[in-house]
Amino acid sequence: MLESVPAERGVSSRVAFPCDLQEARDATRMLRAFLTEQGMDESEVFQCELCLAEACNNAVQYAAGARDPIVAEAICRENVVELTVTDHTPGFELSAPSGPLSAEREHGRGLFIIQSMMDEVHYFRGRHRNTLVMRKTRTHQQHRSMDEATVASLDDARRQIESCQQTISGMARELCFRSESLAAIFRCCAELGRTSDIEGFAHRLLNDLLHLASADWFVLRLLPTGESRLITFAVSSPELRREPVSLERSTEPLSAELAAALTRREVELDCRHNAVPDEPLRAAGAQAAGLVQPLLFGDKLVGTLAVGRREADGPFSVLQAEMIRTFSEFMAVQVVNARHLEEQVHARLVAHELDIAHRIQRALLPRSLPQLANFGLAANWESARQVGGDFYDAIALSEHSVLLVVADVMGKGVPAAMFATITRSLLRALASRSHHPAKLLRRLNELLYEELSSVGMFITAQLVFVDLAERHLVAASAGHCPILIASGDQVRTLSVTGTPLGILPDATYRQQSAKLPAPASVLLYTDGLTEALNPAGEMFGHDRLADWLRQNFPRARSTEQLRDDLAADLARFRGGAALRDDQAFLLLSEKFSVLSAEPPAPPSVSEPAFHLTEFGPPASSAFSALSLPPTAIPHPQFA
């Protein structure tokens, strides 16, 4: 196999051949032809050919029986010729020439010749791979003119044509080789997309790199998102692991990896010369040498990749270093991709949980509200993206009495929805036993306290017992929003203080009663209404809600219409902004057919009763609630 390709600022030719002296000789002849093509003079070509022959013969001798081919390569640059021979054997000892060779000495003559003729000789020993790199500075630079290229004989012409053909087919093979490497990377990517096993992927990719760069160890350490510590992620052998190291507390002199991470530049490591005393990469070997690359994504540091050899006599070749750089870039992209993938999976799981919570929440809202004589019930519930635990209920206790419930389970997601379910069930079970909302709340708290407090959750609830025949109501609250009672053009706020459920083990509750004026409307709601924000960041607020009711109640034609109008105005106020919290409200209203037949409510209904703690603003402030300046302040729940 012969490949001839443009190398970095030069051209190269590569021959792979089986372990055989004749094959080695043929290979060096091909490289000789290539070097001659490059315009080198006879003396230089001979020296290169000879050194290649010596190196190849050595490789054949040491690699006898090896299955992998030996690879010889010649790279011609402007000023230097680089010759490399790579074998897959335990290698040989390259020692510096001790002096002129005595004529009688037969052994070691080959290496002596190489070291004498070349300007630079490096021998890189890998675990299964050794590369002899020979460099020679070109003294005679000449570009072959047409005259020099004149063929001396038919044989020469044939040889030149053959050489050209080999060069062309070599280039084709090189293209093939590169596309195969690309294909391998794509395969790895596809696999990665399916498994998200970034660690296994890193091991496979970096082991490939070791093979390609004739290296024998690697250390990949990553900087987790939001951290400033390098944490070992993948290593070629366990002794290269180390404790996470902070980028912040580092002091001079820096280890190779820290230097690469902090300077964001490639760092050369040579444990024999430039390493700090406690260099962690010394774990690869006292003679270890290699390169440390920062893994960068844009200008973001992702980690570091160190690749090297346990016993190296010199640095990586230009081509190998470039390969390490390419793999580092690729690895950085993969790490970032994997992180994005992980975030997506997490987001999907969260979305799934939210979906379950939504279903539970929807299931626990009453499918239909009780039918009451002369009164209508209507409710609205809008769920925010992040599920809370708002719910409402209306439990008919008799033909003329009903228990109205609006509650808000603090917390989000499935647990909140579960507690909402439990609370609703308990209330349904308890409601028939007592018509005293305060007692119900106390009992609810007793039943729920342990579970709620153990998970740090609590529930606010507003219970209103309404006797429609007697036209009075009794309200108790566990830290929940007040209720609004509208009558005529007046709105009263009935606020009862109380501790949320799940805060105190033996909480007791107060209750307050009020007369139900005629005609009347009662609004129970959750703080999602009053704390809704408009695009300017203003809160809807308690006052605005009270004003809204005052203005709209007298004009309403039905409970459903009142509910729809409120829902629509709340949506308009929000102005397209996403709902931050659940919004739930429950409306009880005098049937409007009855209402419209009657005259407006007499002034007497606004007469304050001693047990009504608060009153709405005076009726004279008639306006459009939704265009009000943000004077509204959310009603304190924990009064």
Partner: protein, 104 residues
């Protein structure tokens, strides 16, 4: 490769290469053709394009063979017309001290 005898002298010519592949054959053939007490051995390298360390080793082995006698005079070994680059190689490896390198 051509091997000629002229009395007790041996002349070897038409050698294209002396390399790892053919060096031991070359050595064995010349050794076999070598007279018991050679006067001189001449190796014509004018057609030789390439010599490597194995080739040098073969030449060195032949020198030893020719000079392994009982107190006899040293046998003249002559390398004829090597190419300049090959002559440089001989000089580099000190072989020129054993062989007489001549041009004709």
């Amino acid at each position: 490769m051509k091997i000629e005898h002229e009395g007790n002298s041996l002349r070897v010519s038409e050698i294209a290469e002396l390399n790892a592949v053919n060096a031991s054959n070359f050595r064995d053939e010349v050794r076999a053709a070598m007279p018991a007490a050679p006067d001189s051995i001449e190796i014509d390298l004018s057609q030789t394009r390439f010599v490597d360390s194995s080739g040098l080793g073969a030449l060195f082995a032949l020198y030893k063979t020719a000079n392994t006698g009982n107190g006899r005079e040293r046998v003249t070994m002559r390398l004829l017309n090597p190419r300049p680059s090959i002559q440089q190689l001989f000089e580099l490896t000190q072989l020129h001290q054993l062989f007489e390198i001549s041009r004709r």
